[in-house]
Symmetry: C2
Subunit: 276 residues, 2 copies
Amino acid sequence: MTRLQLYEQITLKGSYLCIGLDTDITKIPKHLLKYEDPVFEFNRQIIDATKEYCVAYKPNLAFYESRGPQGLESLERTVRYIPTEQFTIADAKRGDIGNTAEMYAQTFYDFYRFDAVTVAPYMGHDSVIPFIRSGNWVILLALTSNEGSKDFQLSGIQGQSGQSDEKLFEQVLRKARAWAGPDEMMFVVGATHPSMIEQIRRIVPDYFLLVPGVGAQGGSLSEVSKAGLNATCGLLVNSSRQIIYASQGEDFADRAREAAKKMQIEMKRQLETIIV
Amino acid sequence: MTRLQLYEQITLKGSYLCIGLDTDITKIPKHLLKYEDPVFEFNRQIIDATKEYCVAYKPNLAFYESRGPQGLESLERTVRYIPTEQFTIADAKRGDIGNTAEMYAQTFYDFYRFDAVTVAPYMGHDSVIPFIRSGNWVILLALTSNEGSKDFQLSGIQGQSGQSDEKLFEQVLRKARAWAGPDEMMFVVGATHPSMIEQIRRIVPDYFLLVPGVGAQGGSLSEVSKAGLNATCGLLVNSSRQIIYASQGEDFADRAREAAKKMQIEMKRQLETIIV
């Protein structure tokens, strides 16, 4: 999917919502356990209920891998089921040397046919470049939503002058924007750092930001939107637990629809501030 | 496996060799393709041929994941086949927020039953701590073997005084040694930076280092050993392609045995320098 196609979906739906399919077999409603593949059945019903309110789905690989080969079969069925007009993100946070990164790119782009994959920057350019492909997207971790983001991402980096003039996550943004343009790369920026988003927009004005951390992790949709929206939206705000586990009863899909719709309504209002 | 048990295997075999099972179905000898699971058959023959010369096996997850659920079945069979006295490492380089990291720990420790998993530090303490378990090992990336290690890992970090007094990888080592001791944590240090290993030993004298980059990537076993060996060895030196693809003909297992034995002989010589 191209950036223009994504933006068209966003304007069509009045939504920049990404739904995280962090599907934990121990947390889904018990009545689904009678299905041959309960995780797929849960995802199928969530997708049917929410697809008109979101533009992207993001399965978190850990939740599928923890069930071994069978879990990956649930993933394969899920990705195949997601409508083609949705942007699909493998939340995998891979990062390895060139020949290995190439194998991961094949895994997510060619085998599972995701549009995008999340990648960690620690190993540098040759761990990221194999993921850059026309028609696909690398979504690089910059400033994550968790407490541990303070350990290294917010460390001050020594500049040319010997003075610290940027944080590690800013160095990541500055270096990475030279590796790929805004049609092939996005950045992960946690909603728990709204005050940093304006600053990030100065470094990467045109790139999409994938923003986790709204909802269960405490980030605010309106703060993130005010700081992060650009002329072509430039945001995908992710919500996982707050939507998919809105209810753990038989009404889970209806409650998920309501939770997604509620976010979409707020997003539509935010989008009106940029569309003139 | 405990640190003592690992050290016992090292002294018993006169080896601190780890063999990387980066098994690429397009590179294995053609006569294996008639087997139902050619990747497992290749691994089985490699393990049989090399197990007396090494103390650890390290499957690289990318090579299994790229074939989807079927590839993970080859991985599952492989890990089950590795003799229990071998230390097993999932080279997965995961790193995610706490609840996700916990799912990855379950994947590698509980589902596949690996001893250890490689983890990336970018997301900080709460992405690493879920992997710390008595009887298992987290192997944290510090200074990797690839060219891109210069992009961020070697960046100067601003110290307390406002002066840059350490590199990012040193900050990772210093912070991480407070998260887990040398019985639960190791560090990845590439063989392509032998001059840094002495300095790393000053920061983490007692920890095992997992050292990739000898062989195909150009690192030297003797330089790494001179700088890195400690009183209880403290090194696992990995070789992947140089051993498993020593030949692509029907003699691949014999050639792999010879390549592993050649490294073991050199390692035995190096170990004699520390054992008095």
